[in-house]
Amino acid sequence: DPEPQLENEYLRIRFDPITGHLLEIQNLAKGFSLPVFQSFYWYNASAGDGLSPQASGAYIFRPNTSTPIPVAKHAATRLLKTALVQELHQNFSAWCSQVLRLRPGHPYLELEWTVGPIPVADGLGKEVISRFETPLRTAGRFYTDSNGRQVLERRRDFRPTWNLSQSEPVAGNYYPVNTRIFIKDEKVQLTVLTDRSQGGSSILDGSLELMVHRRLLNDDNRGLGEPLDEPGADGRGLVVRGQHLVLLDTAAAAADQHRPRAQEMVTPPSVVLAPGPGPRLRW
């Protein structure tokens, strides 16, 4: 498709026909758009260095450089358009893929990512992130929630109650994300809802990132005594599948959407099946 895109009554999502990456989100209902590049990267886990012997491990996130490595520069893509759902399947590598979905009546983009088993035969521990990059002028500020309740402003390389001397430019700016993380300028807000608690940050202005999976080869010497290297049922390493919901709205109206959507994500309907006509349950 020379112009791959997904569209419903609320959003139009454009993709780069060459690389297969997300290119732009258009809010059709409110008539504005935002260039958004999204891809997967991995931080090379530190095994200890001259500055500190501290290795990345279960307790400690410590990449050995501030620049993450792209999982792939291109994604193989497949477009599926039906009346009930529109999907773009992205295959970044043998261990990283994603499906982006738009459904009629839903004002958000759903990203279902599948990551793992993370390969470690090269001897490098890997901490995999999904990063969104936009031209929003965020001045080092981003926002994460605290257990789905108060959303707190975070500032890069800054703490509100003491003078911070930042020694870890990536890990020192990571914060817990329980249900949502967002960035905004004076007019526009990009919100990402998570289906589980993750670490998140905004390392560059206009960007936000969430750590989706990690597999490490060194113990961080905090008492655990083994590296975070979960083998999974088949011994090849865990595969993780999860969802991010992406909302693009005006900064003034964004909370009207992200608050109820986050609750639906945390407490979704329970689904039970019965053979035949099943029980007659009253509403």
Binding site: A58, T82, P104, E264, S270, L273, A274, P279
Partner: protein, 174 residues
């Protein structure tokens, strides 16, 4: 008999900071998972019993724990089944249902017996690969369900076409 105490205890154990943060040793992680799985198994019986009493049926009720890789033995093998949704929120929700199936067309009706738009699409090649040697159903039935605030809704699904041989999904070359 169903029992929620096993799950309650497993969740209580998992309040330990190691379980919350993932800083436990691997054999402890395996044990947390075992306890949660056993707890949920026995809690499912309790929920099924409650639904059976509310709905006046003795038919078995099935929970599909592996729907995230599109595995559900009941929908894969049964030409006529019912999908029950319980919405724990205080507002009505619409919810996309995706169930693994072997046939190519189904009729779905809502709680009032009205037809609901549905479609069968092939499972993604990644899901196909994740299932390993079991492989499972080649298609997924999609429809938009809804449920009232703090309440149930039931959707009946009937197979229209016979199960046809499907090609396993493939990625485009390159």
């Amino acid at each position: 008999p169903g029992d929620s105490s096993m799950l309650r205890e497993a969740v209580a154990v998992a309040q330990h900071h190691d379980a919350v943060a993932g800083t436990e040793r691997q054999h402890v992680a395996d044990d947390y998972a075992r306890q949660l799985a056993k707890g949920w198994d026995s809690c499912q019986v309790l929920v099924a019993n409650a639904l059976s009493i509310l709905g006046g049926t003795k038919e078995p009720l099935i929970f599909c724990n592996a729907l995230n890789i599109s595995v559900c033995p009941l929908s894969e093998t049964t030409p006529h089944f019912t999908v029950i949704l319980y919405n724990p929120l205080a507002w009505g929700v619409t919810w996309p249902v995706r169930l693994p199936v072997r046939a190519t067309s189904y009729a779905v009706t809502d709680p009032q017996g009205q037809p609901v738009a549905s479609q069968v699409v092939p499972v993604s090649s990644v899901t196909w690969w994740l299932r390993g040697s079991t492989r499972g159903a080649p298609g997924e039935l999609l429809f938009q369900a809804w449920a009232p605030p703090l309440g149930f809704s039931t959707f009946e699904v009937k197979q229209l076409s016979p199960g046809a041989p499907w090609e396993p999904p493939r990625w485009p070359s390159g």
